[in-house]
Amino acid sequence: MEFHIDRAKVLPKANLWELLEGLKKRYKLIAPVKEGEKFAFREISDVSSVELNYTRTILPPKKFLLPYRRERFSYDPETMEFKSSFKAEEQVIFGIHSCDLHGISILDSIHLKENPDPRYLEVRRKTILIGISCFPDEYCFCLSTGTAFPDGANWDLFLTDVGPDYFVSIGSPKGDEIVLTFKHLFREIEKEDLELYKRSTAKKKRAFNEENLPDLERISQLIELEYDSPVWEEEAKRCLGCGTCTNTCPTCFCYTSVDVPDLTGKEVKRIEFITSCQYPYYSLVAGEHYFKPTRTSRFRHRYYHKFVGYPYQIEKLGCVGCGRCTAECPAGISMVKTIKRLRGVDEKELREVTE
């Protein structure tokens, strides 16, 4: 290799569709599509519907790794024999932005490190992640969370838009295999490609508006020290407790399990469904005791878990700056604004942030 970058290739943009067609033939292909004014990751039947320039999908690709509702197993209540019908499918998720790749890496740490979940591991092994570069809008703050670029993440291929071509970084043996399989679509890197690639990083960085970025230095300590701040209650007053922030979050993982007997009583299914810490029942124990009894305590808990809980558990922030919780909140509550208020940024500056 001429430039000692043996882990990268160039994919001319015109060849992308053929690559997607090829992937669709081999695997279940998942990619972002446009729906109404928003975007969503869907299983693709027609590759021309794949959206390459999207801002953010309503839900993160998490839903293909951890379904929102699934059967853990079923059992016979007479014999207490348990059986699982779990099956993982080979799939390619194409077009994931850097923030979501980092989100998946956080889920990996949670589900694979301590008490590993074999279902997650199996799905994860059978999933190929192909990322794509993006440009921030007013809700993105991945530059602050250190997730604007896919370094150190856990993807197989990453496509960086460098104008006429995609600069394709190869992140794993599986990614390398894809490049080999479709080698006629790729070409070797030239010196100019490398220049363009390097420039693209700077270009993305410059695209952020400083006012939309929170200062996350020592954020864990800030949240702990400001635990009794009146800001929490003021912001929580507007919170509907609808759980949209956590349901759209690429790193939230909480779920509830419930046993559902069938009519005959011969089979019971244990169903897991994704839930939210914003729902009162989340902390409710038998005997009608709520451990998080107020809206403020539930509202604050989300920030606390993201910025104090995750760092304790997995040594990473639980927020990847994708902006979904803010962009999708019906009440318009902004994570960046709440953090800025906790930091004590003055009112004038604050107005500039929100307007």
């Binding site: 209540p77 509907l240 349901n247 559902v260 005959t264 029942y281 019906p330």
Partner: protein, 253 residues
């Protein structure tokens, strides 16, 4: 065999029809229970004890009340089915705005009627109700789950999540963000959010979720073009006369 009753008071019988639409489950149920009393689907009188009774509709007449009191005595478990039985239903939405006499004169042109009427009320105003299955109509899956749990001697589990939960997980565009009045954030999920998926704002037919933030909901609705009075009326459509705006100092707020 477990004796089951399904009866209707004042209402559209839509919930009973929905129960009849649970075809697969009904076929199984027919071998497991005895539908002793189901006037909509079955001829004949039944006057005995019932293990499980589902009641649809609101209590709006003297006849409804008599029937309900009598049935409650005979039923071990009583389940209110549908929003009329749970909250009074759409017919109760203006209970606090007009006198009964005024309403009856408006509709029937005279005050004297062959039987006594009163303001449409939920079952719980007259008898003890064991479980509530709100919805307009009741959700089939939830009905089957309730029956299955009760037949197995387990109480059903109903966390009152907001409609936003199911709506967001179905990956619908948020209607409130698009400017459409929608009650999703304060309404009790379980329906699968079919209305919002079709672009119609949630009407709150299943009543309140746990600890709803009515104040913020009202302010969001007024920002979307409704007057405050209209916004309150919108929330009252299915919540009936039991509705009141919850203060922020209340439990769970």
């Amino acid at each position: 065999m477990v004796k089951v009753g399904i009866v209707g008071l004042t209402g559209c019988s839509g919930c009973q029809c929905e129960i009849l639409n649970c075809q697969d489950a009904l076929l199984k149920l027919l071998t497991l229970v005895d539908f002793a009393l189901f006037p909509l689907a079955k001829d004949g009188e039944f006057d005995g004890e019932l293990d499980l009774l589902f009641v649809e509709g609101s209590v709006s007449t003297f006849l409804d009340k008599e029937k309900l009191l009598k049935l409650r005595e005979k039923a071990k478990i009583l389940v209110a089915v549908g929003s009329c039985a749970c909250y009074g239903g759409v017919q109760a939405q203006r209970n606090d705005e007009a006198e009964l006499e005024q309403m009856i004169r408006e509709v029937y042109g005279k005050w004297e009627l062959p039987f006594e009427l009163f303001k449409p009320s939920p079952l719980s105003d007259f008898v003890e109700v064991d479980y509530f299955l709100p919805g307009c109509p009741v959700d089939k899956k939830q009905f089957v789950y309730t029956v299955a749990s009760l037949l197995n001697g387990v109480k059903p589990f109903f966390p009152k999540l907001p409609v936003c939960h199911e709506c967001k997980l179905s990956e619908n565009e948020c209607l409130l963000l698009k400017g459409v009045p929608c009650q999703g954030p304060v309404s009790y999920a379980g329906c699968g959010a079919p209305c919002t998926a079709k672009g119609v704002g949630c009407q709150g037919c299943r009543g309140d979720c746990d600890f709803p933030n009515h104040q913020e909901m009202l302010s969001l609705l007024t920002q979307r073009g409704l007057s405050y009075e209209d916004a309150v009326k919108f929330l009252k459509v299915f919540r009936g006369n039991s509705f009141k705006v919850r203060g922020l100092n209340e439990k769970g707020a």
